[in-house]
Assembly symmetry: C2
Homo-oligomer: 294 residues x 2
C-alpha cells in the first residue's frame, strides 16, 4: 500500500507524521510548497510536484483540506490519474452532498472513495488518537484500516458515502448545544457572584457535567480562549449542519443561534479563538443586562 | 446533636435512612402521616405529631419539600418553637429570594439557617452520594457537617444565604442546555438514518460527550424515559432560574425555550417522565419536518 497525503495543515501534518512513523507514507503534497518541503525533510518522505504526480505514485490518497471548494478542486486535479487501483479517503469535514458528488464522480473510474471526517481536534491529531467516522463501502474500509489506524484511536463505520459526514454533523450539533450550555451557566455563575472554583467540580461531577466543561471550564473563566477547536471552523461546520437539516425540512434553534453568535464574534475578530470564546458574548450580555441583546 | 427530618419523599426518605444508619436521626415528620409511620418503623425512629413538636425535640431541623410555598408554610409551622439553639437546613430547591426571606425571618429568633439544595437526584439520595450546595454562615455549616455527611459525597460552600440556591440554578441552566443538545443531536442522527449504536460511543468519547449522554443516551433512543430526573421538577427549577435571571435583567434563550418545550410535554402528560423525554418533541419535529414547529 503506497499512501500519499494531501493537505498538511495542523491536522494533516500530524496525521502524516503518524503514518510516516508507522512506515505507511509514500509521498506528500501541500498547496504551500514550503510547508511540504519542511515536513518531507523532517519525515524523510519525498514531496510530489503536483496532486496528479502524487496520485500517479500512490494507490491510496488521503486528503485533509478545509472546505468543500478545496476538496472539489483537489478531486479535479487528481481525477485524470485515478484508476480502479486507487482509493481516495477524504478526512475533511465537508457537506454530505459534496461527499456524494465525489463518490459518484470517482465511481466513473471505479476508484474507491471513503468520506472519513475526524473528531479529536489538533490534540487528537498530535497524539494519534483521532476518531474517524467513515462512509463508503465497508470492504474498502477494512482494506484501508492500515492507512487510518496510525493516527486514530477509533474507526467507526456508518454506511454509504456521505454518512461519515452525517455522523460528524450530529457531533457538531451537540457540541454547539454544549458550548451554549457551558457559556450560559458559567456567565450566570460569575454574574451571580458565585465562587466558580468551588462550583466547577460540583457541575462537572453531576448532571451538568460534560467533557467541554471539564477541559475548558477553568480556562474559560480565566478568559483563556486559545484553541482548541477554532470558532470559525465550528461555524463552517454548523453551516454544513444547517444545510443537512434544511434537507430534512428542520431548523434547530440552538444551531441557528450559535451560527449567529459565532458570526458576531468573528466580526469582532475572535474567529481564531476556541469555541468557548462564546463566553465573551454571554458575559457581555450579563454586563449590559439587556434582555434583548442576544 | 438531635436531628429532625421533615419531608419524606423519594429524596427525603433516603436521606433520612442514611442519617438513621449513621445514628444521626432523632425524629421525622411528613405531611402524609402513613409515609412517616412506615419509614419510622423501618428505621426505628419516632414520628413527631407535628412540625412544631419535631422542632421542640430537636436542635437541627432538615427540610426537604417541593416548592417555595411548602417551605414557607413549614417555617410558619415551626417558627413558634425556634430558639437560638436551633439550626434549620433546607435542602429543597426553591428561590434564592425565598431562602433570603427565611434567613431574615429566622434571624429574629437568632436561629441559624442554611440553604442547602442538592444535586445527584434519586440515585444520589439512594446511594448517599448527593452533592450539597450551601449558603449561610460558614461556621454554622462546619458545625452541621455531621448532619449532612451521611447522605452526601461533597459539601460545597458558596457564601451567604441564597447562594446555595444560586449555585443550584447554574447547575439547572446547564442541564437544560445539555438535554437540548443531546435531544437535538440524537433526533438528527435518527432522522439521518445513522446507526446510533455505532455513533453513541463516538459522541460520548469526544467534545460532544456529557454525563447525560453517557447515562441516558442509549435509553432515550429506545424511548425509555423512566426517571431519573422528572421533567416537571426541572421545569419548576427553570422557573426559579428564570426569576433569578430576570433579577439580573437577562433572558437566556435556551432556558426560555426549554421551559416552553417542557410545558408542551407536560400538557401531553409527560411531566413525570425523565427530562430526556424532550427527545419526544424533537423526534416529532423531524417527523413532521415543519421548520416552524419548535
Amino acid at each position: 500500500m503506497r499512501v500519499g497525503f494531501i493537505g498538511l495543515g495542523v491536522m494533516g501534518a500530524n496525521m502524516a507524521r503518524h503514518l510516516a512513523n508507522a512506515g505507511q507514507l509514500t509521498t506528500i503534497w501541500n498547496r504551500t510548497r514550503a510547508t511540504a518541503d519542511e515536513l518531507g525533510q523532517a519525515l524523510g518522505v519525498p514531496v510530489a510536484d503536483s496532486p496528479a504526480a502524487l496520485a500517479k505514485s500512490c494507490d491510496v490518497i488521503i486528503t485533509c483540506v478545509s472546505a468543500d471548494k478545496d476538496i472539489l478542486e483537489m478531486i479535479d486535479a487528481i481525477a485524470p490519474e485515478l484508476t480502479d487501483q486507487h482509493t481516495v479517503i477524504d478526512t475533511s469535514t465537508v457537506g454530505a452532498d459534496t461527499a456524494e458528488i465525489i463518490g459518484e464522480r470517482l465511481a466513473k473510474t471505479k476508484t474507491a472513495f471513503l468520506d472519513a471526517p475526524l473528531t479529536g481536534g489538533s490534540e487528537g491529531a498530535e497524539a494519534g488518537t483521532l476518531v474517524v467516522m467513515v462512509g463508503g463501502d465497508e470492504a474498502v474500509l477494512d482494506a484501508m484500516r492500515p492507512a487510518l489506524e496510525p493516527f486514530s484511536s477509533r474507526i467507526s463505520y456508518f454506511g454509504p458515502v456521505g454518512n461519515g459526514q452525517r455522523a460528524k454533523a450530529v457531533n457538531q450539533v451537540i457540541v454547539a448545544g454544549i458550548v451554549q450550555a457551558v457559556s450560559d451557566g458559567l456567565s450566570f455563575a460569575a454574574a451571580s457572584g458565585l465562587d466558580t472554583d468551588e462550583l466547577l467540580p460540583v457541575l462537572i461531577g453531576g448532571a451538568a457535567g460534560s467533557r467541554l466543561l471539564e477541559r475548558r471550564g477553568a480556562r474559560l473563566l480565566e478568559n483563556d480562549f486559545a484553541p482548541g477547536f477554532k470558532l470559525a471552523l465550528h461555524h463552517k461546520d454548523l453551516l454544513l449542519c444547517q444545510r443537512l437539516l434544511k434537507g430534512l425540512d428542520v431548523s434547530l434553534p440552538t444551531v441557528e443561534m450559535t451560527i449567529k453568535h459565532y458570526e458576531r464574534l468573528m466580526a469582532d475578530g475572535y474567529g481564531e479563538e476556541d469555541i468557548t470564546a462564546l463566553y465573551r458574548l454571554k458575559r457581555a450580555l450579563f454586563e449590559t443586562g439587556n434582555q434583548r441583546s442576544l
